[in-house]
Structure formats: C-alpha cells, structure tokens
C-alpha cells in the first residue's frame, strides 16, 4: 500500500473566527458595542445584567443573548426587566457559545434600534476563552466567594478579557478575601485589565460600571 501524507496546517478555530469576523462587521456597521460576559457558574452575571437593565434600560436600548447548557432561566429572569427581546441560546450540552450561535441570534435583534449588546456566555472559565464571538471585548466576572487566585488558575480567560468585574463585594466583611491580592494576581496575568468592583445586591460600585457602559454606547455611534 502507498500511504501519502497530505499537509493541511489549518487552524481549528478558522471557521469560528471567520464567523466571528462576520458578527463583528455586522455590529460595527450598526454601531453596537458588544460585550461577552464570561465567568464561572454563580459569579453573578445575570444579577449584574438585571441591575444594569434596571438602571440603564430606559436610557439605553440594551439587547441580550444568554447562553446556557440547559434551561432558559437566565433569559426569563432578564426578560422580566426589559420590554426588549432577550435571546436565549440553549447549547444542549456544549460548554461555550460559538460565533455561529451568536450570528444566528443576531437575526432576531433589531440592531438599528440597539445601543448595547451583552452576550452572557455559559458559566465556565475554561472553554469560552477559546471562542471569539465577534465581541468588542470579553468581560470576566468573578466574585469574592471564589478565592483570590482565580486569575492564576484560569489565566487564559483573564488574558483574553479586557475588563474584569469583581462582584458580590457586599460579602467582603464576612469573608477572608484580599481584594488587593486578587487584583494583583489578575494584573500579573494581564497588566492591562481594567477593574470594576461591584455588588449587584446593594448597588455598591455600580455607578462606575454604568458610566463605563454609557461611554461605550456613545463611543460606538457611527459618525
């Protein structure tokens, strides 16, 4: 038998990245900044978005795509806070959203009447780091109940993110969590990381988050 070697050398993420490019071009053309919220399960992504809709929902037209392995619970929670459509993507077992799912979800969103898009990814600090969804930036959310060394344990996610939200800071009096240490570990992995310290429950620190989102929405308006 004659065994031939066929050189391929094709990136496995090439197809996803091509679709992510299409998402990015679509969002850019409509002037919609999109943020991909990534975290471990239970860090408070949905609560952060609920609070954001409560405060900014009248001022900014916010669209949301939620990703969950099963159930539409997050989408249902968020839909109670907004008149706008919340697009649920149930991955049916997959541990991350991919660009095709986001591109498909965009079909149902009127981007011309959208100021800001959030993609709430599947709760998982590993897999979603590898998938570009066409977002403007990844925002990694972690909470004070998770341990300061999260950034060292999941460096790829913290390297990929441009912003970090340290959530549930209302619990700090009850925990032995060293905020400076956590921020130090995160900056060790990604010196450019910009931080927000928030409590979705009490609202502490949320004003800086809201101001950031207002700036992002204004900055993306096409000239």
């Amino acid at each position: 038998m004659a065994v031939r070697t066929i050189e391929v050398r094709e990136r496995l993420m090439a197809k996803n990245d091509e679709l992510a490019g299409e998402v990015r071009r679509t969002l850019d053309a409509a002037g919609v900044p999109a943020f991909n919220l990534v975290s471990s399960p239970g860090s408070g992504k949905t609560s952060l978005l609920e609070r954001t809709l409560d405060r900014l929902g009248k001022e900014l037209r916010i669209a949301i795509i939620t990703g969950d392995v099963q159930t539409q619970n997050d989408a249902d929670r968020l839909a109670r806070r907004t008149d706008r459509l919340v697009q649920a993507v149930v991955t049916g077992g997959a541990c991350h959203l991919d660009a095709l799912q986001v591109l498909t979800a965009l079909d149902a969103i009127d981007l011309n009447s959208t100021d800001l898009l959030f993609v709430e990814n599947v709760g998982n600090l590993v897999c979603p780091a590898s998938w570009d969804l066409g977002e403007l930036a990844k925002i990694v959310v972690f909470s004070v109940t998770e341990g300061e060394d999260k950034p060292l344990k999941y460096p790829k996610m913290f390297r990929q993110a441009r912003y970090a939200v340290l959530n549930k800071i209302d619990l700090l009096p009850y925990l032995q969590f060293d905020v400076d240490r956590a921020v130090g570990f995160a900056r060790e992995v990604n010196p450019e990381l910009e931080f927000f310290m928030t409590s979705s429950l009490t609202g502490e620190g949320m004003d800086a988050w809201f101001s950031f989102l207002r700036r992002q929405a204004r900055a993306s308006i096409p000239a």
């Binding site: 038998m1 066929i6 050398r9 094709e10 496995l12």
Partner: protein
C-alpha cells in the same frame, strides 16, 4: 468538553480534504499548543470517537504537543490504494 467541538471540527476539515483527495484515511495529526486551553488526552479520546465512524473508518489520531497556543490540523495520512514502486 469543548474538546468534542474541536474533534468535530477536525472531522469537518478532514472530510473536506478527503472529498478532494480520496483514499482510505490512516491517521490524522493535530498540533496542540501547551497554552491552547485543551486537555490533550481528552482531545485524543474525542478524536478517536469521531474517527471511529465512516467516512473515517477508524483512522488513528496523532497529537503533537508544541509550545504556544497553536491548535491546527497538521496533516493526514491516506492510503490511496496504489502499490508501492
């Protein structure tokens, strides 16, 4: 388990190659970077599962660890049925 998504993508790319250059697939080599966020044993397991069925017919996955975050289909080995000279 995004290793299964990656294994399925390997399958899609291999099918593309085989449609252009038919033959019996012998092995599939994948380059996996140390920082690619992939568990190599898990990927090998998923590749074995994907390659067990037609049109792959039990081809052997070969993983090459490399520095960095590379993740690519490197090469295929195909038996084209011709005899060696």
């Amino acid at each position: 388990m995004h290793e299964m998504s990656l294994a399925l993508e390997v399958g899609r790319l291999v099918e593309q190659q085989l449609s252009a250059q038919p033959g019996r697939l012998v092995s599939v080599a994948v380059e996996v970077g140390d920082d690619a966020g992939v568990e190599p044993d898990n990927l090998a397991f998923c590749l074995e599962a994907v390659l067990a069925y037609p049109p792959f017919d039990g081809a052997r996955p070969v993983l090459h660890r490399v520095p960095g975050d590379a993740l690519r289909l490197e090469y295929l080995e195909v038996d084209d049925g011709s005899t060696d000279d």
